[in-house]
């Protein structure tokens, strides 16, 4: 159970980093406000991405 939670947290952090990087690359001018909003949205999307991966793997 413990390793499951750690693996889940690691995966969500990985998704969060990847999605934030993708957002930072795709917008034309990285305003600090843009990056903050992008980071917050990437965190939510990371949860959705992990859920989608687990649903697709089933």
């Amino acid at each position: 159970m413990r390793s499951g939670a750690a693996a889940a947290a690691a995966e969500i952090l990985l998704w969060w980093a990847a999605l934030t990087a993708l957002w930072a690359v795709l917008i034309s001018a990285p305003d600090p406000l843009d990056l903050e909003i992008g980071t917050a949205a990437a965190l939510l999307t990371a949860f959705a991405a992990r859920a989608a991966r687990r649903a697709a793997a089933r």
């Binding site: 993708l22 690359v25 795709l26 034309s28």
Partner: protein, 143 residues
């Protein structure tokens, strides 16, 4: 009229037009393949037009198309699976179009754009095009 616009013109007349024609007529399977080819060519045309006209906002359109195009094809394959199986389409042109056409467009554009975030965006679009093409070709073959 520069080289980019001429290439975009050639792609529209020689590729996108026939793809849309094929998507409007024929068996269901052929239409789905034609739709996939049309979205691929549309993305490449938008990239070329972005460079030809000097309007970087068109690459955002290309990004949207390269995500929604293969996703739409997969939705069609899922919904029309049985009809496609009745007359399996030939998808021989898709793989060369993706593996040759996408790099042949993205690499010169990257060279013209120069290093930076715009080039990274072009590379992301190119990678999504190739990945989308591979996924849809495999889904089409599997029926």
């Amino acid at each position: 009229m520069n080289g980019w616009l001429a290439a975009a013109c050639a792609l529209v007349v020689g590729g996108l037009g026939p793809s849309l024609w094929g998507a409007a007529r024929g068996t269901t399977g052929r239409r789905v393949v034609a739709q996939n080819m049309a979205t691929l060519l549309l993305c490449l045309v938008l990239l070329l037009l972005a460079q030809g006209y000097g309007r970087p906002s068109y690459t955002d359109l290309a990004l949207v198309v390269c995500v929604l195009g293969p996703a739409g094809t997969l939705v069609y394959i899922r919904l029309l699976g049985e009809e496609i199986e009745k007359h399996p389409p030939g998808a021989r042109l898709l793989t060369p179009a993706v593996t040759i056409g996408a790099p042949a467009t993205v690499v010169p554009l990257c060279v013209a754009t120069g290093p930076g975030r715009a080039m990274a965006k072009l590379l992301v679009i190119g990678a999504l095009l190739v990945a989308g093409g591979l996924v849809t070709t495999r889904a089409l073959r599997r029926g």
